[in-house]
């Protein structure tokens, strides 16, 4: 199925035209884009997610950095046009290596090129997929009573049941989870648990938690990829089942939750595609450390800074998060979800999760 890219080309050409016009008008060339920092994300009442606010950053040719950014944007735009023309796509990493041939415009790290691809999304209001760019990381794994129909690479549709047709590692989420590639044929589950670590995912699979509790288990693989977040959102919307996020108990894990529930700062321009506002944080919470008397590690200097940072992050301004973060700073401790093994391998599925889920009103006694 060939997508229509003409609107993408129009938007990309508009950037070049803008810069060219600046030269003609003897203006110092510039582009404007929303400031992509914590201080400039605002809650969007209509969309129910966090989006960029009104602060604008001007990138202009007055400074070396700004000039490089403009030059690279030109090269990237040209490269995207070329890919559309020859009907190819590239990974972000490939693009980074392709920039080797861009002379002065070459990137010095992949982080630079990734950021610019995001900038270009923000400027044009297109998505990365529109630019024929894809991440090299694959999405995470899923196990549960869900049947998916995926268009395979030889253009055939294939039905996959996420318990019966997969091994212990589950169904692997592809990088493209849009309807033209992936549809949900049937979903029979009461809720979905998104799990940070592979170890805990495997524990729940081995203990048969998906069948015993009629749950869909999603492995996040740390900070979840765009496709994983999009997958969770679609599953949540199409099956209307609650989403619970189960992570370690440290500041970095809270950010994982925030990117699923509220939208990530880096991708706030597409929060409405990626975020699942009804998501709830299951644990492990700092209160759990006290209540379940879990084994802990001391907070590092970086942990403490990250927690303090979260206290000023607009997304964590509700009483639950403020209370928990302050409690954790007071304790000076953190813990991992697998620390629950202290009470035995079945403790998490037999005791911890049922207790927490009941408390949250997901399952009834």
């Amino acid at each position: 199925m060939n997508k229509d890219y003409s609107h993408v080309i129009t938007k990309i050409d508009a950037i070049a035209a803008k810069i060219y016009d600046d030269f003609q008008k003897t203006e110092i060339p510039f582009v404007n884009l929303p400031t992509r920092t914590k201080s400039n994300i605002k809650f969007d009442e209509n969309l129910n997610v966090w989006k960029y606010g009104k602060n604008i950053t001007e990138r202009n040719a007055k400074s070396l950095d700004g000039a490089y950014m403009l030059l690279r944007t030109m090269y990237l735009a040209d490269f995207i046009k070329e890919m559309i023309k020859i009907n190819k796509s590239s990974t972000l990493r490939e693009m980074y290596y392709i920039s080797e041939g861009w002379d002065l415009a070459k990137f010095h790290s992949q982080q630079e090129s990734n950021l610019l691809a995001e900038d270009l999304e923000v400027i044009t209001s297109c998505m990365r997929e529109d630019f024929k760019l894809r991440p090299e990381e694959d999405g995470a794994r899923v196990i549960g009573n869900v049947t998916i129909e995926e268009t395979t690479r030889n253009n055939k549709k294939k039905k996959i049941h996420c318990q019966d047709d997969v091994g212990d590692s589950g169904y692997s989420i592809p990088y493209n989870v849009e309807p033209e590639k992936l549809t949900f044929k049937s979903i029979d589950a009461d809720f979905m648990i998104a799990i940070e670590t592979g170890g805990m995912f495997d524990r729940l699979v081995e203990n048969g938690f998906d069948t015993s509790n009629n749950a869909v288990l999603v492995h996040l693989k740390g900070q979840p990829a765009r496709s994983t977040r999009r997958f969770i959102k679609r599953l949540n919307e199409e099956a209307n089942i609650p989403v619970l996020v189960f992570t370690d108990c440290d500041p970095w894990s809270y950010r994982i939750f925030a990117s699923i529930a509220y939208g990530a700062i880096k991708t706030a321009h597409i929060s409405e595609y990626l975020a699942t506002p009804p998501s709830q944080y299951l644990g492990v919470t700092p209160s759990d450390i006290e209540n379940y008397d879990l084994p802990t590690d001391k907070l590092t200097k970086e942990d403490i800074n990250a927690l303090k940072n979260e206290l000023t992050d607009p997304r964590f301004q509700d009483s639950f998060w403020k209370g928990e973060i302050k409690l954790q700073l007071k304790m000076g401790k953190k813990s991992e979800q697998q620390a629950l093994a202290k009470y035995g391998l079945d403790y998490v599925t037999d005791t911890y999760l049922p207790e927490k889920l009941t408390e949250m009103g997901i399952i009834k006694k």
Partner: protein, 668 residues
């Protein structure tokens, strides 16, 4: 020198006391008994007992002191004869810790008759009485080595000297008769020597070669740094040869002998001078025998001393001299003339340091020199240098190279006023480590200090540390502060340059690329950039470049007398190119100053400058239109490659914030 005399008398008295005690133990004595025991102690005998004071305390020190005395002598004698020194040092290692030290110079040589006196008598020499800057001061140097050699090995010294190209060299083997302080010539001969003239000394001494050889190397390297006009060759026992090359073809300015200054003269010296004066009246005595004594100061000194100006100085008594001596201190007397000093000069210090630190490839070398000053009537002058960065160790204590009258000081660093002055500066703000802001800092740096004076106040006769004299300490501090300021300025400039370089890249490379790419994507012609460039830059841009051009060297003159700078035409032409571009949107005018080294000779300058002085060149640049540039070129001669490696530019008559690449001119 006074110190020394005092030391002797105390020691002699000490010997007498010892003898007395000896006698007391034996029983009752009479003055006649005593008289039998009392005898003159020869200076040589004195040395025999006190060799540690003169730097022969142990066998390592003995080796270095021997080399040092030989080399100092060689350098002094060459300079006196206005010959560029070529010094050859060789050490031959014998068994049982015996070394043969050989030092050879290309000086004028020594007439046969004088050889026994110079090498076979202690306290004999021409420089002992002169007040001017020289390496040796005591006249004890080389003969002490001869004496040490004969005491420890029993061997005699061999001296070869040639004074005339057409005649053979004289060879004399001698020992010192320690009772008489006279040379005893063992053998006289003549020999054919290829050199036109020069002196070669061979002395066998007991020495610790294994431990000492490193110090000998350090000493010679250091010597080469402060004597850029000398070529020094060092051959080790195993035949390895090190050559410390000559980096300057110009002899140091000859130091001039001056008369003693009243502030620095001791009472005894005053009496001694009076005894030998030809003046018959006190007033003319003061005016002719002392420096800085004019009519008025002479009159007021005599009045303060309550003396008659017509007194015959030869008939004055001790009380009268004492009154006069006291009166000197009460009268304001002009500082002595500083002609007698021969500092190395900033350019040469920088060049030497550059040459010797090539392997380290330092980030920068900065020097500072103070005007001459005076302590207790003795003129002195301080010069310092600082080497920073490169492969220098970052964690270690800064290396301090100390010099006095072009002689390296190797020992007793802790007791030297130089170290004291460095320690009292807070180096932390200049990027060096220094716990609590005191003490010798650590970091990737080498410090150099050179004190030149008619009388260096050493802490001891082995001449290893300069005494704690407030005036000298202050001057060293001031010099290092100046150096440190220059370091800061340099760092600031390097940073600024890097920044402006970025901006230049931006307009010359990146901006045209952006324009080209956007035009290509839209299939349109590339737009013009000039108006945007002036908008982005909005400055007057000054950039410079220094190049060196080797020109054919004219035959080197080895004897250069007096002000020799203008005769040094060979070598390198330093070419400085300065580009002034007006990137403002309106025409700009300004005055530009380029600082030049004082010892450089200015060659062609374009465009025509409005003023040229010893220190700078000034151009008045009239109205430069936007996006236009002016090229400025000037040439400097009399410098080696790298002596002038950075333009120092200043601007005037324009808002300094409009300009990148030069700072505001603060006046002459």
């Amino acid at each position: 020198m006074n110190n020394f005399i005092i030391t002797i008398s105390i020691t002699i008295a000490g010997c007498i006391v010892l003898q007395l005690m000896e006698v007391i133990i034996l029983g009752k004595i009479t003055a006649h008994d005593l008289a039998k025991k009392q005898k003159e102690i020869s200076v040589a005998e004195f040395f025999e007992r006190n060799k540690h004071i003169l730097g022969f305390g142990n066998q390592t020190r003995a080796l270095i002191t021997s080399v040092k005395e030989g080399v100092d002598n060689g350098l002094d004698t060459c300079e006196e004869a206005s010959i560029l020194p070529d010094i050859y040092v060789e050490i031959k290692n014998h068994e049982d810790g015996e070394c043969k030290v050989i030092v050879e110079d290309n000086g004028p040589g020594i007439v046969k008759k004088q050889i026994p006196h110079i090498f076979g008598r202690l306290l004999y020499g021409s420089r002992f009485h002169a007040i001017r800057q020289s390496r040796g001061q005591q006249g004890i140097g080389i003969s002490a080595v001869v004496l040490y050699g004969q005491l420890t090995t029993g061997k005699h010294a061999k001296i070869i000297s040639k004074v005339d190209e057409d005649r053979p060299a004289a060879v004399i083997d001698l020992v010192i008769d320690t009772n008489k302080n006279r040379a005893e010539v063992i053998n006289r001969d003549t020999v054919h020597w290829d050199k036109p003239c020069g002196t070669r000394v061979e002395i066998s001494i007991m020495a610790d070669y294994k431990r000492g050889k490193r110090f000998v190397y350090d000493y010679l390297q250091s010597t080469s740094i402060v004597n850029p006009h000398a070529q020094i060759t060092y051959k080790e026992t195993d035949g390895t040869e090190h050559i410390f090359e000559r980096t300057s073809e110009t002899l140091p300015k000859k130091s001039i002998e001056i008369k003693p200054h009243p502030y620095g003269v001791e009472l005894g010296t005053l009496i001694k001078i009076a005894k030998h004066t030809k003046s018959r009246k006190l007033s003319s005595f003061l005016k002719t025998e002392f420096s800085s004594m004019g009519d008025r100061t002479t009159k007021s000194a005599i009045e303060k001393a309550n003396l008659d100006k017509n007194l015959n100085p030869k008939e004055m008594d001790r009380e009268q001299f004492l009154a006069l001596h006291k009166a000197f201190k009460k009268v304001k007397i002009m500082s002595p003339s500083t002609d007698c000093l021969s500092p190395i000069g900033e350019t040469l210090i920088k060049r030497s340091l550059k040459h010797e630190t090539q392997e380290i490839s330092p980030e920068f070398i900065i020097t500072a020199s103070r005007p001459a000053s005076v302590y207790s009537g003795n003129p002195f002058q301080v010069e310092v240098g600082l080497v920073y960065g490169g492969n220098l160790p970052k964690e270690e204590t800064v290396k301090i190279l100390r010099f006095a009258n072009r002689v390296p000081l190797l020992y007793q660093q802790g007791g030297c006023v130089t170290t004291q002055a460095i320690s009292s500066i807070d180096w932390r703000r200049y990027g060096l480590n220094q716990p609590s802001g005191k003490g010798v800092p650590s970091g990737p740096a080498i410090f150099l200090t050179h004190v030149s004076s008619t009388l260096i106040p050493f802490t001891s006769e082995s001449k290893e540390a300069i005494a704690d004299v407030t005036e000298i300490e202050n001057e060293i501090k001031l010099a290092f502060r100046e150096c440190a300021r220059k370091v800061q300025y340099h760092i600031h400039k390097v940073l600024k340059r890097a920044k402006t370089r970025e901006k230049f890249d931006l307009i010359t490379k990146i901006l045209p690329e952006i324009a080209k790419k956007s035009a290509n994507m839209l299939n349109k012609p590339v737009p013009s950039l000039n108006p945007i460039i002036t908008k982005i830059m909005d400055v007057v841009w000054i950039e410079d470049l220094i190049e060196y051009e080797k020109i054919k060297r004219e035959p080197v003159q080895t004897t250069l007398v007096g002000d020799s700078r203008k005769e040094d035409r060979g070598g390198t032409i330093t070419k400085s190119r300065i580009m002034v571009v007006n990137y403002k949107q309106t025409p700009q005018k300004l005055n530009l100053y380029a600082i030049i080294p004082e010892d450089a000779v200015v060659g062609s300058i374009s465009p025509k400058p409005s003023k040229v002085t010893n220190n700078y060149i000034r151009w008045n640049l009239e109205s430069i239109p936007p996006a236009n540039k002016i090229d400025i070129n000037f040439e400097l001669a009399g410098l080696e490659k790298g002596d002038f490696d950075e333009n120092d530019l200043y601007i005037e008559n324009i808002n300094p914030t409009y300009v990148i690449g030069a700072d505001k001119w603060e006046g002459d």
